[in-house]
């Protein structure tokens, strides 16, 4: 099963990389958005799914990556060279939030992250060196879509690979133990805070890289867009819908949510209904299949294998 999955993954990766040779600009744009969604969903899942710490403030890291890229590029640095400093800055900030934040359990941590997100958005809108509420623009002449596309696809492939490696590593097993029972883990010698901080920093860095590429592609960023709470929301929605805590789940979720965003909402009847859909999805998943599409698929497969048996949904985590 694992080898089939790996083969499928490699095939998809090659197809994605080769797509510019065959597909038109419009489709490539959609794929770019999908790749971005994959990076965001998979990265978030490292802290939110593997370690079980749900943060509703991840737009902060996207914004840090985006702003670092723009502000450094305006000072003459090559845009792609700004990506790493942005990632490091985001990782550092994640530690700053995490040191007090991870003393809070479960939902309290989540509420605190909402607060952090809001505070940063307000700060970015008010402070002048970030351009205030009107945002900042990349220096002219730095746009080249082919390069941007490859950049995002490579980042997406790398992120999924990293998530898969983490999941199977000792680090990942420790995160799983922390997710299931943090006190039990500490009682066996695990320094849970250190592991949460590490997972947070890793995922923050990856999201920030995506933020930098975002800035390079859109050329113009504003606090209302990159620090938006709705962005944090969709980042969380994707892994939950797809299957929180798995490697494939965020991919499925990214596909579903991107499709909704790009296609479904083009239909005039549904244009103003995206919150219904997001909210409805969230409610449906929590009530009926907390393990998302992956969980649903597993249940279907199990039901097909044992005729007559109807497995119930596992308890919500």
């Amino acid at each position: 099963m694992r080898r089939a999955g790996l083969a499928a993954g490699v095939a998809v990766a090659i197809a994605a990389l080769g797509a510019p040779l065959l597909l038109g600009r419009g489709t490539l744009n959609d794929l770019w958005n999908l790749a971005l969604a994959v990076v965001l969903a998979s990265s978030w899942n490292i802290l939110g799914g593997f370690a079980g710490q749900v943060s509703l403030g991840y737009s902060v890291f996207l914004g840090i990556g985006a702003y670092t890229t723009v502000l450094l590029s305006l000072r003459g640095v090559d845009p792609f060279a700004t990506l790493v400093p942005g990632a490091l800055l985001a990782a550092a900030f994640s530690v700053v939030i995490g040191l007090p934040g991870f003393r809070l359990r479960g939902p309290y941590f989540t509420i605190a992250t909402i607060g952090v997100g809001e505070a940063i958005r307000v700060a970015a809108s008010s402070v002048s060196f970030t351009g205030g509420s009107s945002g900042v623009r990349m220096p002219a002449g730095s746009f080249e879509f082919g390069r941007n596309y490859l950049g995002m696809v490579i980042l997406a492939i790398a992120t999924v690979a990293i998530a898969a490696l983490v999941r199977r590593s000792a680090f990942g097993h420790t995160l799983a133990a922390i997710r299931q029972d943090v006190d039990g883990a500490e009682a066996l010698g695990v320094d849970a805070t250190r592991f949460k901080l590490a997972a947070h920093a890793l995922s923050a860095g990856l999201v920030a890289l995506a933020g930098g590429l975002y800035a390079i592609n859109f050329q113009y960023i504003a606090p209302g867009a990159v620090f938006d709470f709705r962005l944090s929301l969709s980042i969380v929605l994707m892994p939950i819908v797809g299957g929180i805590g798995t490697v494939v789940g965020p991919l499925l979720g990214a596909l579903v949510v991107s499709t909704i965003q790009l296609k479904l909402l083009e239909l005039p009847a549904l244009r103003d209904s995206y919150l219904f859909i997001y909210g409805g999805l969230l409610i449906a998943v929590i009530l009926f299949e907390p393990k998302g599409l992956v969980g649903l698929a597993r249940r279907i497969v199990a039901a097909l294998r044992t005729p007559g048996a109807t497995p119930r949904a596992a308890d919500a985590r």
Binding site: A170, H173, T174, A176, A177, Q180, D181, D183, G184, A185, E186, A187, L188, G189, V190, D191, A192
Partner: protein
């Protein structure tokens, strides 16, 4: 170091709001002994363990382990120093296999093993606790007796100098209790000091070198099992309360 206690507790107090659960307890535990702790329900025994291993922050008092103060240290650091406990209500990582559960202890305990050495350590502990045949079973599928042994196995994997067992015999049938007693003796023989909270008074009397009795957060007796069980204050504490002493 002959003469110096492995674990030394002075004046330990723990208050929860208006309730003084541990009201000033002093005792020493010598290296290599099995030290039993008994007392009626609500006497503060589990709270005491919580304070020793850092799961709870004590309100006052000193705890010295291997000659150094450990009160106030976070739980995981105390485990690294060699003091670990099991939980009265078992808490396995249900979505992980038995072997993976034990591996957490092997990785993060005093041994801090990696890869191959960790795998060997895990196998070794599983053999000693009789769980080798369940190594690849998900913890969520075990019986209560097996879960109790898993609790012990995980803690043993941290290679402690002292192991605190919290009512490991609770809910076991007589055959399982005999098995638990044999395991405790084997643990002691391997050089690990054992503190055990137990309600099965006769079982704990049979394996312990010394026993301490707590009531309402205070020590009311300490000494050899036979002396303690004959102490009138101890008898009154049990018969005077609602909880009858469990027969072996």
């Amino acid at each position: 170091m002959p003469g110096e206690a492995l674990l030394s507790v002075r004046g330990l107090r723990k208050r929860f709001g208006g309730l003084l659960a541990v009201a000033g307890v002093d005792f020493d535990v010598a290296r290599g002994e099995v030290f039993g702790i008994i007392g009626p329900n609500g006497a503060g025994k589990t709270t005491l363990f919580g304070c020793l291993v850092g799961a709870l922050r004590s309100t006052a008092g000193e705890v010295r382990f291997l000659g150094e103060r450990i009160d106030g240290l976070p739980c995981h650091r105390i485990v690294r120093r060699g003091l670990v406990r099991t939980h009265q209500i078992v808490r396995p990582f249900r979505e992980m296999t038995v072997a993976d559960n034990v591996a957490i202890g092997a990785h993060f305990g005093r041994g801090a093993h990696r890869a191959a050495r960790a795998a060997r350590a895990v196998r070794d502990v599983l053999e000693r606790t009789g769980l080798a045949h369940r190594a690849d079973t998900l913890a969520g599928a075990l019986t209560i007796g097996e879960l109790k042994r898993l609790e012990i196995a995980r803690s043993l994997a941290t290679e402690p100098a002292a192991l605190c067992l919290d009512e490991v015999m609770g809910g076991l049938n007589p055959g399982e209790i005999a098995g638990a007693m044999a395991l405790i003796r084997a643990i002691q023989a391997s050089g690990v000091t054992v503190l055990m909270i137990e309600h099965h008074v006769h079982a704990v009397a049979a394996v312990s070198d010394r026993i301490m009795v707590l009531n309402f957060g205070r020590k009311i007796a300490e000494g050899s099992p036979s002396a303690v069980l004959a102490d009138p204050a101890v008898v009154e504490a049990y018969l005077g309360s609602e909880t009858p002493i469990e027969a072996a």
